[in-house]
Subunit: 214 residues, 2 copies
């Protein structure tokens, strides 16, 4: 299925995609570093007030020329959407770690990633909801074979075996059943000592895309 | 239970809490606005390169004097932890919307909030995992009566009824059963047209806190 043609998202060349990610990727990464410093700084009133003023100034500069409410799935390259605004994998979204997801056999994917202070819940642990966010996305990637199918999460269950430490982590997900418009996937997050969180979910092809359902 | 005394988190006065939130709150809010502009800007190479350089400079300034790996539950005011680094409610965490949670009857809480471009999954919709993040946190707040009890999520199930639009939303959660070390809660997210996502979960008192369990 050609996701671009079906969804109306514009297709750009791989070269143009490279050019735009070279322009906007470093900006988002700089903001990720700023987020971390914002949480951890212990600067005094004057330092913090000056930083706040400078950030507001940069924001004003960036706001000139904004055209869209949100970038969303703005481009398709080689039949795969560039989800640059996505909260989990978006190259242009500073909130996204961003996860870089690798696909193996059809319906299987994994990612090695790092979560810092911004993703904290209990002291030094990943927020339980952040683990759910990562697993929802990864199971969805497995089910949709790299977002090339427009599937939505139906239900997801997340089971916490123990606290997930901030730092280097891995997540994996696999499809284990397909049945009409439903695709079932499961996965987990692990640290160096093993699995910390497990999830399973069912993903559903939306009505508008069902004419092409197998 | 005095959370501060039990957890070893330092207690500060309400005045000191006000003073520090007045220092660091506006900084985090300025970074939230920058995140939104970073995602939505369509500036050219020169504009983006200049903004990137300025942001790196501010980050360097903020990094001077950083003491802790992450702020976590840094202070307790009036027996309630100030979770300033928290990924969902943290005053100092630019990734957090942040949710401002109101508590009614014991075991019931709600929040009115706004999610912009940074929380997007499918075009113009909240990322399903972000809904899970919000509900995990809110159910946990209900179960722990405003984080005054150190409960951890055991299992949470999130059911998506339809897409949740970016914009103004409400979330609610209630405890419906307590049984030894387990507390059961459920909740939902709604937009102006009704409920979009439901969740239920079980929250567990960790072993280190069980000597005080009822």
């Amino acid at each position: 299925m050609d996701f671009g043609a079906r969804s109306g998202v514009p297709t750009i060349s791989a070269d143009e995609g490279e050019r735009l990610s070279g322009r906007y990727g470093p900006l988002a990464q700089a903001v990720r570093d700023l987020i971390d410093a914002t949480i951890r700084t212990e600067g005094d009133d004057a330092t913090i007030a000056e930083a706040t003023a400078q950030i507001r100034q940069v924001t004003e500069q960036l706001r000139s020329g904004i055209l869209s409410e949100s970038p969303g799935l703005r481009y398709v390259v080689d039949g795969r959407p560039l989800a640059w605004g996505n909260a989990v994998v978006g190259l242009r979204n500073p909130i996204a770690p961003p996860l870089s997801i690798r696909h193996g056999e059809p319906g299987h994917c994994w990612t090695d990633f790092h979560l810092g202070a911004a993703y904290e819940g209990p002291p030094n642990l990943v927020h339980g909801g952040v683990s759910a966010l990562v697993l929802d996305h990864l199971l969805g990637e497995a089910a949709s074979e790299g977002l090339t199918k427009p599937l939505y999460t139906g239900t997801i269950t997340v089971k916490y075996l123990r606290g997930t430490p901030l730092g280097s982590l891995r997540a994996e997900a696999s499809v284990y059943r397909r049945e009409g418009i439903k695709t079932y996937a499961r996965g987990h997050i692990s640290d160096a000592s093993g699995v910390t969180v497990e999830a399973e979910g069912v993903f559903i092809l939306p009505a508008w895309a069902r004419d092409g359902a197998e």
